[in-house]
């Protein structure tokens, strides 16, 4: 079995910051495992600006922000990156098993940092009933389709939830020539950043319905319409307030969940940035959901240092 000082799972902003920090703090034998063909994670599809204001005191796009760290990782020759590699097992004896084209590998590490990011909540998780046609996308998937693949998911859009990705994607759809007919938010105010409410919604005259929820999705093959109902502050439906919106696309932006299945399945508990197994750490969105990437970078630097100290003290 291959032995490593530090294994980091995930090459997004958290994993890259942790790798750079661990290296700066003296760890020389680092394996960074990335499932995609490039580093940067979700930043690569975030082509809007607003990144780096806190950390770099500059306004950057997602790919530009990622690029600063990709260069650093590349310059640190002791950091080996394994691309197209997906971890299938984490064990409490600090072994990590991953698959990549052509082989399965198990690595034993002195310390492990899990930086596996998060996923978006689905319509099921917020109990939206109705039919299950084509045309229902998570905001992140729609973002990938438009920004990376050059595909337009739909032309008449209803956004569910006012999370940041939803607001940013509402603007993106308008810029692509689609009509965003409504943003439906169950709470009485936006869950997204104020700057996104202004720059994405108000500037583009997109109607927002606070205190409203989708009561049902209609359509057999493709989404045809949604019914929307007003709710009070305790989310009780207000009778007589039901109305319908015709649309061909629904974007779900109702929150993010940390991806911690590998840790769960290993029977390991998360305790702040550490875990119940000494030497296994967690950072970035897989630790908790962050509002902005700058804070992810800052916190992940600390975790990289924690891991370096742990390795030194062994």
């Amino acid at each position: 079995m291959v032995k490593r000082d530090l294994v980091i799972v995930g090459g997004g902003p958290a994993g890259m910051a942790a790798a750079v920090s661990a290296h700066e703090n003296g760890v020389k034998d680092i394996l960074l495992i990335e499932r995609d063909r490039y580093l940067g994670g979700i930043l690569n599809q975030c082509i809007h600006t607003g990144f780096g204001i806190n950390y770099f005191k500059e306004i950057l796009t997602g790919p530009e922000y990622a690029d600063r760290f990709i260069k650093k990782v590349r310059d640190m020759l002791d950091i080996e990156v394994s691309f197209n590699s997906i971890v299938v097992k984490l064990a409490s004896d600090k072994t990590v098993t991953f698959l990549k084209p052509g082989r399965l590998e198990t690595v034993k590490a002195k310390a492990i940092i899990m930086a596996t990011g998060c996923r978006e909540k689905t319509r099921e998780m917020v109990h939206i009933q109705g039919s299950r046609p084509a045309g229902i996308f998570s905001a992140g998937l729609a973002q990938k389709l438009i920004n990376i693949e050059g595909l337009l998911p739909g032309k008449e859009v209803v956004v569910v939830g006012s999370g940041d990705i939803g607001l940013i994607m509402a603007r993106r759809f308008v810029m692509e020539g689609a009509r965003v007919k409504a943003i439906i938010e169950i709470q009485k105010e936006s869950r997204g950043l104020l700057r996104n409410m202004v720059q994405c919604v108000e500037d583009f005259d997109i109607p927002v319905y606070f205190n409203h929820k989708i009561s049902r999705i209609f359509g057999k093959s493709r989404v045809e319409k949604v019914s929307v109902i007003r709710v009070d502050d305790s989310f009780n439906e207000i009778p007589g307030s039901l109305f319908e919106i015709q649309c061909d696309t629904i974007l779900m932006s109702v929150g993010l969940i940390s991806e911690n299945e590998l840790i769960d399945m290993a029977g390991i508990r998360i305790e702040e940035n550490k875990t119940s197994v000494p030497g296994i750490f967690v950072c970035g969105n897989s630790f908790k959901i962050y509002d902005i990437v700058d804070t992810v970078t800052k916190d992940s630097f600390l975790v990289g240092k924690l891991a370096a100290n742990y390795i030194t003290n062994q």
């Binding site: 499932r35 197209n84 997906i86 299938v88 097992k89 098993t97 698959l99 990549k100 084209p101 052509g102 082989r103 399965l104 996923r119 978006e120 689905t122 099921e124 998780m125 109990h127 009933q129 109705g130 039919s131 299950r132 046609p133 084509a134 998570s138 992140g140 998937l141 990938k144 389709l145 438009i146 990376i148 693949e149 050059g150 595909l151 337009l152 998911p153 739909g154 032309k155 692509e176 049902r216 999705i217 057999k220 093959s221 493709r222 061909d248 299945e261 769960d264 399945m265």
Partner: protein, 479 residues
């Protein structure tokens, strides 16, 4: 025009079972399916339980065919190389009165020939099913109950049927059938077909097909069932299928182990009108969750990753499997709801016999390929085996769906074997069926489908025409 010996309408588990059984004989067989792919109708939402044969009246077709089917599926699944697991089921009782009901069920099932039934007590339940409600006092244990993937069964049957000469026509809706002695003229959306015999296994639409020949003594009523799927990390929540005592219309909300690992809970049973209404409801959601928690109190709604609804084709209390004298050569195989999947191999045998009894001369083929090479699924394989699989073919290490561990190679193979849509890929491989619902892998799967099928990515659909995933390719604008 070619005259088929047998035309089968509907390619769910019933139709494909019949096709595969008849493929043993020297017959020209056509199998018609109106949807883009097989198993897209009733079979799509089957929960994959191979019932032991309890809970059916001993003098019913359901009772007899279920017990026989449970026996037959063992060899069939081996021949087709489809994983069947005999996990056993527990029908749980919470008080003395319910125990008496268990004893009655046991006696009735023994008349039907269900083997090895026994009543297990609280201590047994504690040891063997630790997450079960502690208030359960006893259970009827049927060790012959099992699980199978309904999709892999239908696709395996169809693949093997084709290998043995059956012709399958998808996207072919039957518009009308005319009996012009001694043949049937079948007017389909893809043209005119002629067959000596017609088997109607059209699921929810079997009454409409039958009516085309003036045979209208039954009506299909859709009975909706809403079901949930739990996260794969809950795989060992239960070790058996866990059932409550049955009601009149259904077996109740069951905690189901599945061949894919994810536990499933459901279904509800609600009679509705619309044969295409697959919508879910708040009331269904709450009913499933509360009923399931009565059996396994620790079920957390955060572990529910998907829910959907399916429709059972109900035509009275029993299956209808009849040769119709009004149109000699026409056989109705209708009302095949639960335990239809279990019974399907027995139904196929029965239909073959009905054909023989009604004058179809059937001779065995000189060569019948009974065996089918299985498909590889990484999620079913232990790590050591995965290592070997990847060494042999590196593309198995190229993971597309990370939630369910599905490789590019598995998806390409699925497309080669007939998957044409995103749902078809999902049903065959489980890609997109996990906790992220395809958010991370949908784009890659769309590209593989487009590439392998040589179609535009904008033509990739969820489940057939009208369900295209995206509206426009922005790179195509070259004005």
């Amino acid at each position: 025009m070619k005259t088929y010996d047998v035309a089968i309408i509907g390619a769910g588990v019933t139709g494909t079972s019949i096709a595969r059984e008849l493929a043993r004989y020297k017959l020209d067989i056509a199998l018609f399916e109106k949807e883009e792919e097989l198993a897209f109708g009733v079979s799509k939402s089957n929960s994959g339980i191979i019932h032991p044969g309890i809970q059916n009246s001993p003098d019913s077709l359901k009772g007899r065919l279920c017990v026989q089917g449970n026996f037959l599926i063992r060899d069939l699944s081996k021949e087709l190389n489809i994983d069947f697991k005999e996990v056993g089921e527990l029908i749980v009782a919470f008080n003395e009165e319910e125990i008496r009901e268990l004893l009655r069920l046991k006696k009735e099932a023994e008349v039907l020939g269900v083997p090895r039934l026994k009543i297990v007590d609280k201590t047994w339940l504690r040891q063997n099913e630790p997450n079960l409600n502690a208030e359960a006092v006893a259970a009827l244990y049927a060790p012959t109950a099992g699980i199978i993937s309904p999709y892999r069964l239908v696709y395996g049957l169809a693949e093997n049927a084709v290998r043995n000469g059956v012709e399958i026509f998808t996207e072919t809706k039957i518009e009308n059938i005319i009996y012009s002695k001694p043949n049937f003229e079948i007017l389909a959306s893809k043209g005119l077909f002629r067959s000596r015999h017609v088997i109607n296994s059209a699921g929810l639409f079997a009454d409409e097909i039958s009516k085309m020949l003036g045979i209208d003594y039954f009506k299909i009523r859709p009975r909706k069932g809403e079901e949930f799927i739990l996260d794969k990390k809950k795989e060992s929540l239960i070790h058996h299928l866990i059932l409550p005592l049955p009601s009149k219309t259904s077996k109740g909300v069951i905690i189901i182990k599945t061949a894919d690992g994810n536990p499933m809970i459901g279904p509800t049973a609600e009679d509705i009108e619309d044969k295409e209404d697959l919508s879910t409801s708040d009331s269904g959601f709450n009913k499933v969750l509360s009923s399931a928690r009565r059996l396994i109190p620790s079920i957390n709604d955060k572990d529910i990753i998907a829910y959907f609804a399916g429709l059972r084709p109900v035509a009275g209390d029993d299956f209808i499997i009849n040769h119709e004298n009004k149109a000699p050569g026409f056989i109705n195989v209708a009302g095949i709801q639960s335990p239809g999947l279990t019974a399907s191999p027995a139904i196929a045998l029965l239909v073959a016999n009905i054909l023989k009894d009604n004058g179809l001369e059937i001779k065995k083929k000189f060569i019948f390929h009974a065996h089918r090479k299985g498909t590889i699924h990484l999620f079913q394989s232990p790590l050591l085996k995965i290592e070997k699989i990847i060494k042999k073919d590196p593309s198995y290490g190229d993971i597309v769906c990370r939630c369910e561990m599905v490789s590019a190679k598995e998806i390409k193979d699925a497309v080669k074997k007939g998957a044409k849509t995103m749902d078809g890929v999902k049903f065959r491989t489980r890609a997109q069926a996990g906790r992220c619902h395809g958010s991370f892998c949908a784009t890659r799967i769309m590209k593989i489908l487009a590439e392998e099928r040589k179609i535009l990515v904008t033509s990739v659909t969820k489940r057939g025409k009208g369900s295209e995933i995206v509206k426009e390719d922005r790179f195509c604008f070259q004005e």
